[in-house]
Each structure stands twice: as C-alpha cells, then as structure tokens.
C-alpha cells in the first residue's frame, strides 16, 4: 500500500465525479482527499485525487479512468514532478492569555489569523501537505476545536 496522487482532467459535466469516484469505491478504496475545480478552460475540470492502495490495482484504476468517455487525461503526480498545496483552517480554544504563544507559532509557519473572538482564534495556513501535517501536530497542545483541510491540489512543474 502506498499513497498516490492522481490528477484527472475531465469534461466539466454532471455525473463525471460519480463515475470517477465509483472506480475507487467499487474496489473498496477510500479516497484520502479530493479537490475538484474548473481549470483555465471553463469546460474542463481537474480532480486531484489522493488515494492509498496497492500499486497494481491503482495502475488498473488509472487505465479504467482513461477508459471513461468523459476523462480527458490522467497523470501521476508526486513531490518531485509537481507542486502540491493544501489549505488548512484551524479553530483553537484561545483565551486572550494564550494568544501570544499561538501568534508565535503561526508566524513560524507563515499562517494567518483569519478570525478572533473572546474564546477562539482561527488560523489559515497554505503549504505542501507535509508542512501542513507538521503544523497541525504543533497545534494539538492548544486544544483544536475544529479543523478542516481542502484536500491537495497539484500542478506539474513542466
């Protein structure tokens, strides 16, 4: 089992996401993350799919993806050939006295404060998935109230 990042260019139509997702679910594979949006061409969408699975079976899924009528292109992405980013939003329990420590941590990671109340603080951080993971680990001692990630987007370097 290893993690794969598959970027799929598709026709921007209803039903395509279900076709793509179906190939994974039919094999009992859980999608770790999924990001879908329009591209530079309004009639083309791109799906960045992160999935863990047996290499041979993932290879078969990619062939099956290519076979779907509405799929335009399937490419493998990794840390070497692509730039990968993810956004995380984290809501922390933070009384005014705790805020300073959190500010410092945020600064180190280039995170921004996007919301503050008397009880809570919301941080936003954009980075590669590994840095996002590290950031979240360091936030844990501050009682994370809620945390949400966008899922990875990935673009080939060339």
């Amino acid at each position: 089992m290893s993690q794969h990042v598959i970027s799929v260019k598709v026709e921007n139509k209803f039903g395509v996401l279900a076709r793509v997702a179906g190939l994974f679910s039919a094999r009992g594979y859980n999608i770790d993350s999924l990001a879908v949006s329009e591209t530079e061409l309004p009639d083309v969408s791109v799906m960045t799919i992160v999935v863990s699975g047996d290499d041979r079976i993932i290879e078969q899924v990619k062939k099956q993806l290519n076979k779907l009528i509405d799929i335009i292109k399937v490419t493998d992405h990794n840390q070497e050939n692509a730039v990968q980013r993810e956004i995380v939003l984290a809501k922390l329990n933070a009384t005014p006295t705790k805020r300073n420590e959190i500010y410092q941590l945020a600064q180190i990671f280039g995170a921004r404060i996007v919301g503050v109340t008397n009880k809570a603080i919301i941080l936003e951080m954009v980075s590669d998935p590994e840095t996002v993971d590290n950031f979240i680990e360091l936030l844990r001692p501050y009682a994370i109230k809620e945390l949400i990630r966008t899922g990875r987007v990935s673009i080939l370097k060339e």
Binding site: G15, A18, A26, N66, L68
Partner: protein
C-alpha cells in the same frame, strides 16, 4: 420545422439504419411509443424487459449490428439491469433508451422513478441523462458511435418525459468528435515488429483467441495468420467460431472446461499470442502456474485489459482485424515441426469424450446429434451451466457469430431471448438454444414472442432435474450435499409449449433423440421445445477446479 423529442428518437434511429427495436412500453415512454407505432423499422414487444435486452444482445452478436432497446422508467429500467451487465461483460454493442420522470421532479421519489444513470453507471460503457432537448440528437449519434467503436459495449440514454414532449429543430449530426474518446485502431509498428520477431523465434507457440476476434470481424485475418505460421490455436468460450474447430490446428476451447490438449499446450508453450482475449480467471486458473515458460504477446483494443491479470512482454493496443493484417504482411513462419507433432499427439490421445449409455440419454450425445444432423450449420445459443459447457465442447464451431452465450456475467435465462434476437437478425439460419431445465424457466415468458413472430427457434432442454453445474460442484467439493439444487418438481414442458402455441416433444429414450431433432428441424413456423430427459448426474469434464492449475485437471469421474 420543429419536431418533438420522441420524433427525434425515431428519426435518429432511421438514420442509424436500425432494422429492429426491442422493448416494452410504460407511462413515461408513451410519447415515444406513440411514434414507434408507425416507424418504418420492426418493433418486437417482449413480455419482460429482461427478455427485450437479451434479445437485442442476441441480435447484436448474431449480426454484428448494434441492438436497440427501449423500456420505461423505474421498474422497466431496473428490469434491464441484468441484460445490460451481460452485454457489458461480453462487449456487445447496445443502445438502450429508458424513460425517466419529468426533469422538474427528478429526485423527488416520483412515481416509477429510479436513478437509472446511477444504477447503470458501472455496467455501461457510457450513459446519458438528457436534460436539454437540443442535445438529444447529438447524444443519440454519440451513443451509437461509442457503443459500436473501440471495445464495444452498451450505452444507455435516459430520456425524461418532458424532453420527449418538447419540440426543437432536428439536425442529425454527420460525424462525432469526442476529444476524450479516440480508440486506437492500428497497432504500433515497432511493437508489431517485435511481436513478429518473437513469433519467428518461438519453438512452442500457441494462439489464444477470444471474443475480440469476433467483434472486430477478424476471423479471416486470424485464419490467414494461422495458415502463414502453422501455429496451433485455442479459443475462449466467446471466441468459439473465430477459427474452424474441425481444422487440424484447432485445439478447441481452453480453460476450466477446456480440452486437455489446449490447456496442456498453453501450459507448455514458450510463446502465447493472445488476440482479443482478457486472461479471465476461468481461462487462467491459478495465475502463477498458468504459463510458466511463455512470453506473451497481447493484442487488444482495450488498454485496460493489457497486463491486468498477467504480465505481457509485447502489448499491442489496436483492433484485432487491423493488427493481424499488419502482422500477416511481415510475419515469417517459425520452425515448429516437433511442437506440432507433440501437440497433435496430445490431441489424438486425449480427445473430449464421455461414457455413452444404452440406458439413459447422455447430454453430450444430444449435442453431438444436433451437430451431426445440422451439419454444424446453425446458430447455437446457450443458457449458463452444464448445458453451456457441453454445447461448447461437443459441437464444432466453424464460423464466427454462430455461438452465442453469456460468458463474462454467466447469466442464466440469457439463451432463449438471445435466440429470438439471433433468429430475427439471421432468418436464413436455424437457431437452437441449448438450455437446462433451470435456465429455461428464467425467461420462459418470451416463448409467446417467438410464437407471435413465427420464429422456428428450437429449445433443446437438457433436462436433468438439477441445477446441474452447482450440483456438480456440490458433488465434487461439498460432499454431495445437494442443497436446493434438485429441481425435479417442474412443469410439463410439452404442455407448456402447447399452452403457448409452440410445439413440444418429450424425449425419454435414446432411440428417440435423432427423430425428435429431425422433427424439430422440419418445423419452420413456430418454436419447438425438445425436452430431453438426460442422465441426471452427468458431469462436465475435463475440469480444472477454480483457482487450480492444469496439473489438477480432472479428466473423468473418479471410480
């Protein structure tokens, strides 16, 4: 001039040169049926939607043309599901229209509503939900194109009733351009050269041909290839008829119930040339012991079939007809005299056989007699199970599109409605459904369709009062515990035939087998049920148990 969506469907089918459509009406397709009433092509009303889709499938397999089906929303559409999955597994081109509730109530649990594009997504090559009347003609054009090109398959169009009733200008597109769908036809020149080199260097080659040869109409090219190279050939179940089985170099079928010599030749080979076949588990058995000494050339139109189950040395993605032509242009014959002598010796010493009896009718005997009396000139449809295997073993298929059977999905109840479609598509041929007493009861309601249209389909029931194949497995692997496979509590098939207005003959003595077949063949204006009461516990041999290898092949009953 504006016309309705329903009229657009009829007009489009005319432009696609559809000769016959199969289906069943219902609420939301009434607007379409309103115009089907005076359409210039034939409409065959089934008695169950499953019968319609299998008939369209049989028509498509017998003729090479796409089968066209219509059913209503909800239960009409869900009744098609088994037939669509059957066609999808065996790569049969179908275009299926289903009615749908009006677009503004989709998702509201309306009467007879089902998410049909959702249900059929994994069992179609592609499907459409029509949301705009102006896209309907384009979608129909695309559906026929997608169904019939590349690796063929079923395409479903779900048409909401308000789309059928809406009006627009009708323009049927001349061509289709899909940027994301461009099947590869010609093989890669470099790969073809590599393949030819491997073929020339091989000393123990075998050709393994599948249904892809038949769907790409490549039988002539395959024959040329065998003639040029002298390589022995085995086929899959769906490949039967791709190469004449009465030829010396034919090893007949391989796999679980394939011949001794086909399976051993493949196992001993140093080069396996797969054409339009997909290394199904019923062919390979235990993958690691399937071809221990062989390199593999795999010619297939579907890239996802290549290196799926076994590693391939020379993959060639392309249409079998074109790739074989390209290979035939340059290939040189390998030196394989010794190999041929060896393979022919295996073939001679280990023929397909059974222990005949004077007391009971052996099912294999029935198939042999059908073959002899028809001179092999018939289209054989089968159900699924023992009947299917005996039909594949004891009849020599010499022409493509003369053996019609549900291979991939293994759908009981397929054969009889498929034979109705085949007979409609090929009125010049006799169509015989080799059935079991279990399978035939799964779509028997279609008998009235054959009677109505005076189709002389012969239904040869190999009646053993068992669900025979499951019983065989229970005998061999489950300690003879015949749990719910004994079905000798059954209807009187002769009276049943008569009730429908068909002919029925019960055959209980061996001496009556030949006269009954002759009698059936003399009837040309209605279907005939031949109810052969055969040996109840006859088994299909040879047999390689599931997941085992050629070493575990059982040749006959253990004493």
């Amino acid at each position: 001039m504006k016309i309705t969506g329903a009229q657009i469907i009829i007009e489009s089918l005319i432009r696609e040169k559809v000769e016959v459509m199969f289906g069943y009406p219902g609420g939301v397709v009434i607007p379409i049926f309103h115009h089907l009433f005076n359409a210039p092509f034939k409409f065959i009303l089934s008695r169950h939607e499953q019968g319609a889709v299998h008939a369209a499938d049989g028509y498509a397999r017998a003729t090479g043309k796409p089968g066209v089906v219509i059913a209503t929303s909800g239960p009409g559409a869900t009744n098609l599901v088994t037939g669509i999955a059957t066609a999808n597994m065996d790569s049969v081109p179908l275009v299926i229209f289903t009615g749908q509730v009006s677009t503004e109530v989709i998702g509201n649990d309306a009467f007879q509503e089902a998410d049909v594009t959702g249900i059929t997504r994994p069992i179609t090559k592609h499907n459409y939900l029509v949301k705009d009347i102006n896209e309907l003609a384009q979608i129909i054009k695309e559906a026929f194109y997608i169904a019939t090109t590349g690796r063929p398959g079923p395409v479903l169009i779900d048409v909401p009733v308000n789309i059928s009733n809406a009006e627009t200008e009708f323009h049927y597109p001349e061509t289709v351009h899909l940027r994301s769908y461009k099947p590869v036809i010609h093989g890669h020149a470099g790969q073809i050269q590599k393949a030819c080199k491997l073929i020339e260097q091989s000393r123990r080659p075998v050709v393994y041909a599948g249904g892809g040869v038949i769907s790409s109409n490549a039988s002539d090219e395959l024959r040329t290839f065998i003639k040029k190279t002298g390589i022995p050939i085995t086929t899959t179940l769906l490949g039967l008829g791709a190469y004449p089985e009465n030829d010396k170099l034919s090893l007949k079928m391989l796999g679980m119930h394939g011949t001794y010599y086909a399976n051993h030749a493949v196992h001993q080979s140093d080069l396996l040339i797969a054409v339009g076949a997909r290394f199904d588990d019923r062919v390979t058995g235990k993958i690691s012991e399937f071809i221990p000494h062989a390199k593999v050339i795999h010619i297939d139109i579907d890239p996802s079939s290549v290196s799926k189950n076994i590693a391939v040395d020379v993959p060639i993605v392309g249409d079998a007809k074109h790739v074989l032509t390209e290979i035939n242009n340059i290939v040189k014959a390998p030196r394989i005299d010794e190999w041929i002598t060896h393979v022919m010796k295996m073939k001679e010493e280990n023929p397909l056989t059974y222990k005949d009896s004077d007391v009971t009718i052996k099912p294999q005997y029935v198939i042999e007699k059908i073959y002899e009396i028809t001179n092999g000139d018939a289209i054989i449809c089968t159900e699924v199970g023992q009947n299917q295997m005996w039909a594949s073993q004891f009849f020599d298929y010499t022409q493509p599109r003369t053996f019609i059977s549900s291979g991939g999905l293994g759908t009981m109840g397929f054969g009889f409605p498929a034979s109705i479609g085949a007979q409609l598509g090929r009125p010049d041929k006799r169509v015989i459904d080799i059935a079991g007493d279990g399978s035939i009861q799964m779509n028997i309601q279609e008998l009235i369709v054959a009677v109505q249209h005076r189709l002389p389909v012969i239904i040869a029931i190999l009646n053993n009062g068992f669900l025979g194949m499951v019983r065989q497995w229970q005998q061999l692997f489950y300690n003879k515990r015949y749990s719910f496979t004994c079905i000798n509590f059954q209807p009187d098939f002769v009276k049943l035939a008569q009730a429908y207005g068909a002919e029925g003959i019960r055959i209980e003595k061996k001496a009556d087998v030949v006269p009954a077949i002759q009698k059936a063949l003399s009837i040309t204006d209605k279907p005939i049920i031949l109810d052969f009461h055969v040996d109840r516990e006859e088994n299909v041999y040879p047999m390689i148990p599931a997941g085992k290898s050629v070493k575990d092949m059982m040749m006959r009953e253990l004493a």
